[in-house]
Amino acid sequence: MQISSKFEGSHATLSLAGRFDFHSHRDFRNAYEKVLEEVRAKEVEVNFSDVDYLDSSALGMLLLLKEKSDAAGKSVVLSSPRGAVRQVLDIANFGKLFKIVE
């Protein structure tokens, strides 16, 4: 999976591409740790528009990101999940835990 990060004022975006699964663990952590260190970033957006698969390990990573973000006083938004990714998020009822936007 490829990850690129972008900072715009208080908004940070992590754009993911490819398969988000167990193997993405280290890359994803490295990426979000950088975002969490950035003091100005108050909202962390994880963009899924180029992600075509999400497994349960990935859901776990999102929960971890949320926990760390909450502790750092930042909010997390999941954006543009498509197809199977949207389905996995729905089945896990992640809408009750995260703000999900189109």
Partner: protein, 589 residues
């Protein structure tokens, strides 16, 4: 390069010329290494065997065994350790050099060589060897890790197998398969009958797979089995599972789970689904007539305060199967990466006749065929529960254990009283059963007592205090409506109280338990209802079986007051003294 540690090498120098030996020996000592000297090929072979040097300088032309032959012997006895061999010879033709390298040499230096060149060569090999040594250590470490991991996997697989293999899974209504990705599965299947014979099943899928997933799934089996045995409803079990998992798991681990309570007697299926694919009701024609989609996040994520144990219940009027599976089954991929999907499940059901176990076998075969021998990415499991419609519903209880005390008893009395606050959140019947099954003679009867108590208590609460009308249940979606209405009225209940009393006593050679349940509601026309009960064959109605069940189980049943007090007598044992004395005097050991 500088990362490699300094090494003291053992360097074998084989040369018949003392001058040449001396030159190399000096350089070797100067660089801090240890020289080992040999004067001919045979001595070189012997010293190599005895000293196991790290690096070899070999002359080619020597009396007796020459250098080329010596190298052949050395290479033949070398084990996993690689010691570079440098030919050091006055023969300077290209074909000599090529032959030396072909015979097993790693390098070829032509005599005479400058001190600088020899020093540089030795330093180069020292770096190479120290890197090789590090590499060797890593490999060894890795192998140790692998061995240890294998041991742990074996242990994990053993424990998981023991914990997941329960008698309940051999229930005649239950069929299941579990195809793990690793040595053991993070998918967990459980089944057990509650005291009233309602079947509880659970399909749990821990995030990830392998040991970490199995570890996350472990604590939940014990909770599921013990709470089911005590008669707790699945909503309370889900709540407790969530509480425990939340307390012990790190933030990124959780367990998707489907819990279901299958009540063949009252023909209802109740489901709680958090994070699993839809649970399905498939009728005999192979159509999906009900779906229970995931309504909650998986277990172990939400804090207790916001967790919801809300279940969905249906009454079924035709036989069929309850089908539950993990996402591994839905996402099983064929060679073109197409998922099997719930559509795949539906297809198999539509194409296979509803005969004993055939659909189950067909489903398993279809999934394996779909994957075409490719390994599954995720643990893959499925559970099917047969839902028969039985016109005659005899209540059966599991065999009582023989070692239980059978009486006579001395008087034992228990009085309990619950007000509206406790009625709102307590599972009163399991709560009470917890007390009374501590008494030895009552423990053996807990199934029947659970049923009697459930009927008496539910009548007192649903009809006595909440004034609900059971006939709601026979309408379309009746069970949901009834349960919704019940939850609403219970939340608004004011000044309601239910009192339970138990008296265990001996009457002649009978041990008896008298139960009475009193509510503070307005009562009901019990005479009219009882008369109707006795006349009407109401097997086809999804309600009203309760009274007849009570009559079957209890020796006596009486209503008092306005119908808000009910008294029942249950016979625990008869003529136990006579039975004891009837035993042969010398029973076989």
């Amino acid at each position: 390069m500088s990362a490699a540690p300094e090494m003291n090498l053992k360097i074998l120098i084989a040369d018949d010329s003392p001058t040449n030996r001396k030159q190399l020996e000096t350089v070797v000592r100067h660089l801090g290494h240890v020289p080992i000297l040999a004067c001919d090929g045979q001595e070189a072979v012997d010293k190599f065997r005895d000293e196991s040097p790290d690096l070899v300088f070999m002359d080619v032309m020597m009396p007796g065994m020459d250098g080329m032959t010596a190298v052949k012997h050395i290479r033949a006895m070398q084990g996993s350790k690689w010691s570079p061999i440098v030919f050091f010879s006055a023969l300077d033709r290209m074909q000599d050099m090529v032959r030396g390298l072909e015979e097993g040499g790693d390098d070829y230096v032509v005599k005479p060589a400058s001190l600088q060149l020899l020093r540089a060569k030795i330093n180069g090999y020292a770096r190479l060897l120290s890197l090789q040594k590090m590499n060797y250590q890593y490999t060894e470490e890795l192998e140790n890790w692998r061995d240890e991991a294998r041991t742990q996997v074996r242990l994990g697989a053993h424990v998981m197998a023991r914990l997941t293999d329960a008698d309940g899974l051999r229930d005649s209504l239950v069929r299941y398969f579990n195809i793990p990705t690793d040595a053991f599965s993070g998918d967990l299947l459980c089944a057990r009958r509650a005291p009233d014979e309602v079947l509880h099943v659970m399909l749990a899928d821990a995030a990830g797979h392998g040991l970490s997933a199995a570890l996350a799934a472990l604590p939940i089996t014990q909770i599921f089995y013990s709470m089911t045995a005590k008669g707790f409803p699945i909503a309370s079990i889900a709540e407790e599972l969530n509480r425990r998992l939340k307390a012990i798991l790190p933030a990124d681990l959780f367990v998707a789970a489907t819990l279901a309570a299958v009540d063949v007697r009252s023909q209802t299926v109740e489901v709680w689904n958090g994070g699993n694919p839809d649970a399905l009701f498939m009728n005999t024609a192979g159509e999906i007539t009900m779906r229970w989609p995931s309504r909650h996040p998986p277990l172990g994520i939400l804090p207790e305060a916001v967790f919801s144990g809300l279940t969905e219940t249906i009454g079924f009027h035709e036989p069929g199967d309850l089908v539950m599976c993990s996402d591994g089954l839905v996402e099983a991929e064929d060679p073109a990466d197409v998922w099997f999907g719930l559509e795949g499940v539906a297809r198999v059901f539509a194409q296979t006749p509803h005969t004993e176990g055939q659909r189950f076998v067909a489903l398993r075969t279809a999934v394996l065929d779909h994957m075409a021998e490719r390994p599954n990415r995720d643990d893959l499991s499925c559970m099917m529960v047969s839902l028969p419609v039985e016109r005659r519903q005899a209540v059966r209880f599991s065999a009582k254990s023989a070692a239980v005390y059978q009486g006579p008893v001395s008087d034992w009395r228990l009085e309990l009283s619950y007000g509206e606050t406790e009625l709102r959140y307590l599972d009163v019947v399991p709560h009470v059963l917890g007390f009374i099954s501590q008494v030895q003679i009552l423990k053996a009867h807990q199934g029947a007592l659970f049923l009697i108590l459930t009927e008496l208590f539910n009548n007192a609460l649903d009809h006595g205090l909440l004034g609900l009308d059971s006939s709601i249940k026979s309408s379309e979606n009746g069970f949901e409506l009834f349960l919704q209405e019940r939850a609403q009225r219970l939340a608004q209940l004011q000044d309601g109280r239910i009192e339970l009393s138990f008296l265990l006593h001996q009457d002649g050679n009978q041990s008896l338990l008298d139960l009475s349940v009193t509510d503070t509601g307005p009562g009901f026309d019990f005479q009219g209802t009882l008369a109707a009960e006795l006349q009407e064959d109401n097997d086809h109605r999804p309600y009203g079986r309760g009274l007849r069940l009570l009559r079957n189980l209890c020796a006596e049943l009486r209503y008092y007051g306005m119908g808000n007090k009910v008294w029942a007598r249950y016979v625990l044992s008869e003529a136990c003294v006579a039975a004891d004395s009837a035993l042969p005097e010398s029973a076989p050991a």
